[in-house]
């Protein structure tokens, strides 16, 4: 057993981070918020060229031929920079929808919960989006539509690519969502720590106060526990592991962003600070591919089923 990142996985993660830092850094994020939700097609194609969407597509089909753990690391980095767009739906459509793998085609999907992200900007919509009504989305970078008939309207028919071909779409969407939440949670923790180190009150950095210290420590504990759960779920691809990972990653992202806001004090409540963007994206992702209640029920059933231990 060697449950640590391999050298190749480290290199991949660092590569994706570098690419995203160059193409979607803090200034680009703020500019995107000011411009309103328009998908950056050039960036989408660049992601395609870098293999983001074709990561798990076999090399014979023009893909990169990697597995779920590598995809999870890439989505974690996307979550860290709050990269907008229907990333997961397009990734899952690689090899199924023409042009998805290369980033030429933007694909979105109707989620089981009845929400569609980026409907107006997408080239292809998977699932039935008839009668979709726009919402005023809480996250300025995730436009949302609500589809009248929900439950079963999701993408049960898609056969995903790669070694985990047997897994239906919903658990994969949940796993990649968890990975994005993990990245955002880590960013929130780092942002809070950075602020606590430099912001001075009462003649010392606020990070010297135990009350602030403990908030930051709790953020890290949630991040590290979620990380272990998300990475393990990527390795096992087990639906119960994925449900557990999702619960912990949602918690790490949502509570982490709230604690980050608290550490920032009044500044954290402003539009100018990035903290609200983390929180709003984290909230948005909690609605994707099954609710917390469904995850908890699945995990409860596992306790009495006699399998999975």
């Amino acid at each position: 057993m060697d449950f640590q990142l391999t050298d190749d996985q480290r290199a991949l993660k660092a590569g994706v981070r570098e690419l995203l830092a160059g193409r979607f850094g803090r200034e680009r994020l703020r500019a995107a918020v000011d411009e309103g939700p328009r998908l950056d097609r050039a960036l989408w194609r660049e992601l395609g060229e870098a293999g983001f969407f074709a990561l798990r597509l076999p090399e014979a089909d023009g893909g990169v031929g990697l597995g779920l753990p590598e995809a999870v690391l890439a989505f974690e980095e996307a979550g860290r920079v709050l990269l907008p767009g229907p990333l997961i739906a397009t990734h899952l459509a690689a090899g199924v929808v023409d042009g998805a793998a290369t980033g030429e085609t933007v694909v979105t999907a109707v989620d089981g919960g009845g929400l569609v992200e980026w409907l107006a900007e997408a080239d292809v919509v998977r699932g039935d989006a008839t009668g979709a009504e726009p919402l005023r989305p809480v996250d300025p970078l995730t436009p949302l539509h609500r589809v009248p008939v929900s439950g079963g309207a999701g993408l049960t028919d898609v056969r995903p690519v790669g070694s985990t071909g047997a897994l239906p779409t919903a658990p994969l969407t949940s796993l990649f969502t968890a990975a994005e939440q993990l990245g955002t949670a880590a960013r929130a923790c780092e942002t809070a720590v950075q602020h606590a180190r430099t912001r001075e009150q009462f003649g010392q950095p606020i990070g010297a106060f135990q009350a602030v210290k403990h908030l930051c420590a709790q953020m890290l504990v949630r991040v590290e526990l979620a990380r272990a759960a998300v990475y393990a779920a990527a390795v096992t691809a087990d639906p119960v592991d994925i449900a557990a990972a999702r619960l912990l990653a949602d918690e790490a992202a949502v509570r982490g962003a709230r604690d980050c806001l608290q550490v920032h004090g009044g500044m954290g409540f402003t539009w100018e600070s990035d903290v609200h963007l983390c929180l709003k994206r984290a909230w948005t992702r909690t609605q994707r591919a099954g609710t917390a209640t469904e995850s908890e029920e699945l995990l409860a059933a596992d306790l009495v089923s006699g399998v999975g231990r």
Binding site: D2, Q4, C189, G207, Q218, V235, D241, L303, V304
Partner: protein, 384 residues
């Protein structure tokens, strides 16, 4: 990232399983928690069986008489012994997990030869004389004094929360040898024989009703200078070596146990009808996520230690913070399932619920662990 075990690791697991299945049925019945001599004999007997089978000191270095097992093998050992219902390390805790590894790393050849083999063979029990009434989490505030008189130190003071003190042969004792030095400096680490004149042990009753630990009063107890580990006044550094091991893998078996208990709690809820309550099911499902993740974090930390040559990383504090809380949540949920019966001290879960209260306090309170995480991992400034 790999969660599969190597063929060698699987073989180790298979042999261990086989051995456990063979020896466990022949164990004598477990003595009652308050029967200290009985517990000592039982725990030492188990240690002797481990020694004879070649499993003693699994994670100790080979030159200290251990097996030099990898952290993963140690993880497998803790997982399998828990699953098989083997005895806990019990009274051998301090010797095997604390004093032993510290002596192995800091002791002279003579000290290693004197103290290590009896721990492995199940002949001697150690206790830990660190905490004092005014030096708990602030361990370096300890006041027990030791001054030189010829070839001896003369020790006076008192220790508290000392587990196994009543039946211990040796105490790893922290004493102040230089009262004028800064508080982390003038401390020394001594091995004190528990039968020396001047030692009084007074058992303490815990809120669970049992006598888990004791106060130890020291009145001019003579300890040979040759029983000092490391240099005089260097005891704090020696102690820090020990504590990193304590948080490393001490809780591995317990996470396995908690996952088992959680399954039992769910099955009990099915039996008594509480399972029909969706809020309770969600709570138990959430705990399943929690303990699965804690197990993954354990595997992560162990793999990290293995890559670093067996040295536990700082992840121990992260783990302990979440685990100690989750354990309390588990037994609170068990109480909800039991309903009025949760007030019956005859129920094991009720006793476990009471004892779980110590987890956020012992081995560094959660508040201190938060400071450690914030300062040593996140690099936040030290408070005043």
């Amino acid at each position: 990232m790999d969660l599969t075990y190597t063929p060698e690791e699987e073989e180790f697991r298979a042999r261990l399983r086989e051995w456990l299945a063979e020896v466990l049925p022949s164990l004598p019945p477990k003595p009652s928690p308050d029967d200290w001599p009985g517990r000592r004999a039982y725990d030492l007997g188990w240690q002797r069986m481990l020694y004879d089978a070649g499993y003693a000191g699994l994670h100790w270095p080979v030159d200290a008489g251990g097996r030099g097992a990898t952290p993963t093998q140690h993880l497998i050992y803790l997982e399998e012994t828990e699953k098989a219902g083997a005895p806990y390390v019990g009274a051998n805790f301090v010797g095997l997990l604390h004093a032993g590894p510290t002596i192995a790393s800091e002791g002279t050849p003579a000290q290693r030869a004197r103290w290590l083999p009896p721990v492995l063979r199940g002949e001697e029990v150690w206790c830990q004389g660190f905490s004092e009434p005014d030096a708990g989490s602030d361990l370096a505030a300890l006041r027990t004094r030791a001054w030189r008189d010829g070839d001896d130190y003369v020790v006076s003071g008192s220790k508290i929360w000392t587990s196994h003190a009543e039946v211990a042969d040796w105490c790893e004792l922290l004493v102040r040898t230089d009262p004028a030095a800064p508080k982390h400096r003038g401390i020394s680490w001594l091995a004190m024989p528990m039968d020396a004149p001047g030692i009084t042990v007074r058992p303490l009753r815990t809120l669970a009703g049992s006598t888990e630990f004791a106060e130890v009063f020291l009145d001019e107890v003579r300890v040979p200078v040759s029983h000092r580990l490391g240099a005089e006044n260097d005891g704090w550094r020696v102690t820090m070596v020990t504590l990193s091991y304590e948080r490393g893998t001490a809780f591995v078996g317990e996470v396995v146990a908690c996952r088992r208990v959680l399954g039992e709690v769910a099955r009990e809820a099915r039996k008594n009808g509480r399972w029909d309550d969706p809020a309770l099911r969600r709570r138990l499902g959430g705990l399943n996520a929690e303990f699965r993740a804690l197990w993954r974090l354990t595997q992560w930390n162990v793999s990290e230690a293995q890559r670093n040559g067996g040295v536990p990383g700082v992840g121990g504090s992260v783990f302990k913070l979440r685990y100690s809380h989750a354990r309390q949540e588990l037994y609170d949920a068990a109480a909800e399932v039991l309903g009025p019966e949760a007030l019956d001290l005859g129920r094991q879960w009720t006793l476990d619920r009471l004892s779980s209260l110590s987890y956020t306090i012992a081995a560094g309170t959660s508040q201190i662990q938060h400071n450690i995480v914030a300062e040593r991992i996140l690099g936040l400034p030290k408070g005043r």
